[in-house]
């Protein structure tokens, strides 16, 4: 299928493969991400208003009619596009591509124009319309490695860059699977694989070449760093 992204990046090119055949739509990744990345709690009103903040969400599609009905799940996170539509529209260079293949959001540069969110075809960017508030009991469980975003700031999945930093700090060499983002770590069916695409022996590199692999909205040419493995029906 599609060849691996040609990259001139120095050492790492982080990528992810999500096997939809294994995804059960259990939302463990969503909860793990929520608590790892200091994402405020979303209530029903936030979802109804379309203001809920979820760096990863599980989209659900129904297929067929009862009793021959099927639920399809698609976990969507920031695709870390190599050709990102969000980056070119930021007037203050608050989002850019770094040398590890990450689409980066710099909170202290962001002025909240929301151009990037409007330009993202994956709806992966989320805007803080309000100051985030946690119940009193929750304040001591905030992750100290992640900045709490204030009102007026765009935020999105970072591939858990705090974990990447912790593992690679000082030019340390990392083994494949030595660390994983929160969502990957929490996945009970091992549907998600994260790793360095520059390392040809990594698990993610092998899955990257799988014949079931596809990218979401591939026709847009955004060249994402996230690939999905197609669900294959036994009785299709």
């Amino acid at each position: 299928m599609a060849t691996r992204t040609q990259s001139t990046r120095a050492d790492h090119k982080w990528g992810m493969v999500i096997d939809l055949d294994r995804c059960t739509g259990c939302q463990a990744c969503v909860i793990a991400c929520q608590s790892e990345n200091n994402i405020p709690l979303n209530d029903q009103a936030a979802f109804l208003d379309g203001r809920a903040i979820e760096w990863i969400r599980v989209e659900r599609y129904w297929e067929g009619d009862y009793p021959d009905i099927k639920a399809r799940f698609l976990p969507v996170l920031c695709q870390h596009c190599d050709n990102a539509p969000c980056e070119s529209v930021c007037p203050v260079y608050a989002t850019y591509h770094n040398n590890e293949g990450l689409n980066v959001q710099v909170y202290n540069r962001c002025v909240g124009t929301r151009f990037c969110g409007n330009n993202c075809p994956y709806h992966a960017r989320l805007f803080n319309y309000w100051e985030p508030v946690w119940p009193e009991d929750f304040r001591n469980q905030l992750n100290p490695d992640v900045t709490v975003r204030t009102r007026g700031i765009m935020e999105k999945c970072t591939f858990c860059i705090q974990r990447i930093r912790r593992s690679t700090r000082g030019g340390k060499q990392v083994e494949d699977q030595a660390f994983n983002p929160a969502c990957v770590q929490a996945c009970p069916t091992d549907a998600m694989t994260f790793g360095d695409l520059n390392n040809p022996d990594s698990r993610v590199s092998h899955k990257w070449e799988d014949e079931r692999a596809f990218r979401v909205l591939e026709a847009l040419g955004t060249n994402p760093s996230v690939k999905y493995l197609k669900q294959v029906d036994a009785h299709a």
Partner: protein, 191 residues
């Protein structure tokens, strides 16, 4: 509109506009040049709950920084030692007679003991060096690269009261990172 009204209105509007512009300009110049920043402890050490003299511990007793700030070479934070660690050393030095016997020093050391039944209370040290929340500073790699604590914290060994000596603004960090060919990608510190 009469001629006289324009004669009055034009200078008034001009004056107001000039004032507004001057105010805005002042605001920007002030924001840009205001040095040092209003940072707690900068140029003026806050009073601590215990008058802990680094001079005695570092210069007289000859302790290494890492003897107390133990996680500085492995973790994000240098950390302040637990009261139990203070007590352990002070129990020991009381027996060996190395401890200062001046009444002021005794009074400060006595604060470590706390309630004899409840045990020591954690000490509410006043934080001196504070970076903004969107900066993720990690001590470990800096120490591992061989920088001494005094590069950023100044000559703590001669400070009776600890104060901040460098402004620790982003320019300060980036200049040093450039000089030492350390990474200057935004996400080195901001994430």
């Amino acid at each position: 509109m009469s001629n006289s009204l324009i004669k009055i209105a034009v200078p008034v509007i001009g004056l107001v506009a000039a004032l507004v512009l001057a105010f805005v300009a002042y605001f920007f110049v002030q924001a840009w040049w205001a040095q040092p920043p209003a940072v707690l402890g900068f140029g003026d050490g806050p009073t601590q709950p215990i008058a802990f003299p680094h001079t005695v511990h570092v210069t007289t007793a000859g302790l290494d920084c890492q003897f107390c700030h133990r996680t500085v070479s492995t973790e994000e934070a240098a950390t302040v030692p637990a009261v139990a660690q203070c007590q352990f050393c002070h129990d020991f030095t009381r027996i060996t007679g190395e401890q200062s016997s001046s009444p002021t020093a005794e009074a400060e050391i006595a604060k470590l003991i706390g309630d004899p039944l409840e045990g020591p209370e954690p000490i509410n040290w006043v934080r001196v060096h504070r970076l903004p929340d969107h900066v993720q500073f990690v001590h470990a790699p800096h120490i591992q690269q061989g920088f001494s604590c005094s590069t950023c914290h100044g000559d703590i060994a001669s400070m009776e009261v600890v104060e901040q000596v460098r402004n620790l603004k982003m320019r300060d960090c980036v200049d040093c990172h450039r000089d030492n060919s350390a990474p200057t990608d935004c996400t080195t510190c901001h994430y």
